[in-house]
Amino acid sequence: MSWRRFFRRSKWDEERARELASYLETETEENIARGMTREEARRTAHIKLGNATRIREEIYEMNSIGWLETLWQDLRYGVRVLRKAPGFTTVAVLTLALGIGASTVGFSVFYNLLFNAFAAKNASRLAVPIVLDTSSPGDIRPLSCSVSDLDLVRQQNQVFENIVGYIPVGMVLLNDGSQTYQFYDGRVTSDAFEFYGVPALLGRGIAPQDGKTGAPPVFVMSYKTWKGSFNGDPKILGKTYTVDDEPRMLVGVMPPRFQAFGPLAQIWIPVTWTHAPSSGNEPEINLLGRLKPGATLQAASSNFDVIVKRLAALHPDDFPKHFAARVESADDLLMGPQAGGAASFSDMKDLVYDLLVTVMILLLIACSNVANLLLARATVRRKEIAVRAALGATRRRLVRQLLVESSVLAIASCVVGCVFAWFGMKIVATALPDVGRGASYWAYIGGEVSIGLNIPVLAFAILVTLFTTMICGLAPALHAVRADMQPQLSGSGRGMRAFGHGKLRAGLVIGEVALSIVLLVGAGLMIRTLFLLTHVDLGFNPKNVLLVLFMPSRGYDLGVDRAKATSAEGMATLREVADRLKTLPDVMDVAVEDTIPGYGPGDGPEVTVPGAGHAEKAGLLACDQGFLRTVELRLTQGRWLSRDEVQTARHVAVINQKLAHDFFGGGNPVGQELDVKKFKGVSISSQDTYFEIVGVVADIKSRPEKPAMPMAFVPVTVRGGFILLLKTRVAPASLVRTVQKQVWAVNRDEIFVFSKPLTDFLHELTYATPEFGVTTFAPLAGIAILLVIAGVFSVMAYTVSLQTHEIGIRMALGAQQSNILKMVLGRGLRLIVAGIVVGVVVSLGLTRFIASQIWGISATDPWTFAAVTILLTIVALMACYIPARRAMRVDPMEALRYE
């Protein structure tokens, strides 16, 4: 069977026809030569040949592929049938498309965040050695060591194929001759780019030759920076710029999907000895490695536990007293608990799993809707099927045809679903919390993640489509064909046969309602959590506050050594800047302090009061006289720190109510002494210090979701601080440039600035993940409600249409319209209530799976359950209403006329 023949069957057939015609002519002539008349000759010739058409048919059939022919026929038939029922087709396609689209989006988020988060080569084997402080659970840092120690680590390493180091956060000043830019930079060991394996877009990445002593200084730029600050000009490649007063050549631009070795890094520079911070120490680098194929994390952890303990023996000050070392995979670290950076209750990884389950549930609801629709249609088409069977179609052929029809539906839904998914993904991508575990890590969620329709996601969409075809198409198809054909043909089967499907339909509706309850409860709990979280009384006012972060020396690591950041010079510069900023018209107050209010302070030293008998850990917040007004603390007793006290670094403190309560009960703490154990400050290193208590303020939260901890506020000059808070009259974000100018006016080259409104910080750190949860779950729940309405409506409408006969009889026997209405609504209500009961029971069991996303209410919060139940009942009853009215309007005469 040749393919050429297949495609040119009709042409071939024509040739055949000609050939046969020529045969007939020749034979006819011969017959005439034998003496027959023309008529006879022709007739005899025809008889000799046989049925010409049959011959042609036979040959035609030999040229075609049997099953392909029938498939094509089925397809065309299916499309025709679907076109004839536009209402059904549209609803079915849209419903399935919603299900397929939503599940594709969910899977895309799941896959891309958990399995495709990095652009690196063999990213699944990327792993990070971390150090856990065993005395302070939750304190996790990536292992860092000096560059020379990296060799030590490499020698002792048995589990990693390769280890590289990086300094993830720093800032540099880049000058191109006319303009100065301030960029975040990431420093990397010279083999880091090769290790990562992402080729540069232009030029090359950092290469091992750049790390050799004496190598010409180079740097590499990120795509965003290249586009944003240099207009994507390809000509800048190879140019030399002044970076931190040193000429460096730009050797490459990275592609858009590259944001490693520094979550904020805009350029990358090779680590060499000469680029140590001014203190003269070797730079400390964080480590990132790729495990050998087959190496397990446990083996790696035990290996590194030994290595790190050896390192700690060499540099005891760099490590916590009691620690353990472990190796974790890069993916786990990125998405693990507290991956949101913050809200300690909200686990991004769990959220992603929950999302996947939710979209699957939504898909099931959509499928059950479509299955119901198909069941109804199959019943309606029984006559047609019976006729076809009578004409000779085998059961197999009929089932195949129905399946093909479902497939056409499914393919259309797949396409539409992918379109929906594309839009959905765009929305989700913007809501994705742009957070990570902190600046000291090499990456953050969203850095290299792209939520889109990549190959695995498309494959999933197709798989899902196949699955839905099977579920939605097979059952109705088998059902329709199994039934005895004869009653259908004679037309009397309509009223009674229908209930063969009744149980299945009812079951589907109950299932749908139950599933949607589960979704609604989940979404409801998350919405309430977010609401409660954002309405927590923080104890201070973060609005209209601009937070300005300082790094007073060059090439420095964020958030590290306070003493260095707050040397006498540093503090003086800070003071000058603060005074300057205070003069700005839009700035109402300025405060100098050392933490992000609402996200700190963290655990501090132990404090006690002489004679109290116990000590407790308190948070220490160093600030100045302006802090009270800037964040609007509430003073309850005594007074706040004064300007003099701050300037002279007197040992005074203001405590919060919790601390006051813990040590003084109802008494007056003002004038008492606070003993801070092992206090570390600018001029003090680790000894017990006494502070005189001068006032008490109302509690403020160091984390919205945690209860207030005991806190003491001490003058910033005693401890060191590098954060400015500005209370602004206008939107804080609008003042960023002004602040930068003012700061540079004081000291151009030395001071770096990072400023953001405080509310943005809090948002990113605390609310972003729960918000993401709500942004994804709420629309899904909404879609679920719509689907349930549609489902209930279609089932009720269909049932009513089947019962027209029965209703007619009832009415003829005297039932009133209101009785009919009650009957129909009653039936509907029974289904809905059954569904709700099942749904509530299931939810009660399942909510513990989203317990990690819930805060402030219990996972079985009765209000939420009640609200959801009421909502769904109302909505479902509404869906029953129209069919019920139609039932009411049945004319008994009409109904009884048709059998």
Partner: protein
């Protein structure tokens, strides 16, 4: 293919051997459908009545397998007709089929108790 032809036995044997007969006919040179049909009849002394209709599907099958090739030519009475000729593969096939056929005949003769007759042409 539905059975046609004179006696049932003849029909059965004919089905399997129609291909061989056609190939054999074409050994002597290219011919068109009509000629092949009559040639088979004549050479078998009219014992094998081929329903000429079943010839064409057979020709088609043979062409599909590459044992014969077709081309349009002019017939004796100046009409356009479709001619068939034997391909080298067809020749090989013919030899193979012929020897198989001969073996079959020998076997049947042995079973029926007759001595092996002169080999068929």
């Amino acid at each position: 293919m539905p059975k046609r032809g004179a006696a049932a036995l003849q029909g059965e044997i004919l089905q399997g051997t129609l291909d061989v007969l056609i190939l054999q006919t074409l050994v002597l040179g290219a011919a068109h459908g009509h000629t092949i049909a009559h040639a088979i009849e004549h050479r078998s002394e009219d014992v094998l009545q081929v329903e000429h209709g079943s010839l064409y599907p057979a020709l088609h099958r043979l062409e599909d397998r590459g044992w014969i090739a077709s081309f349009w030519g002019t017939s004796e009475n100046n009409r356009k007709a479709r001619y068939y000729r034997l391909t080298p593969a067809g020749r090989k096939q013919l030899r193979a089929q012929t020897s198989r056929w001969e073996e079959l005949v020998r076997a049947i003769n042995l079973v029926l108790g007759r001595a092996a007759g002169p080999t068929a042409e």
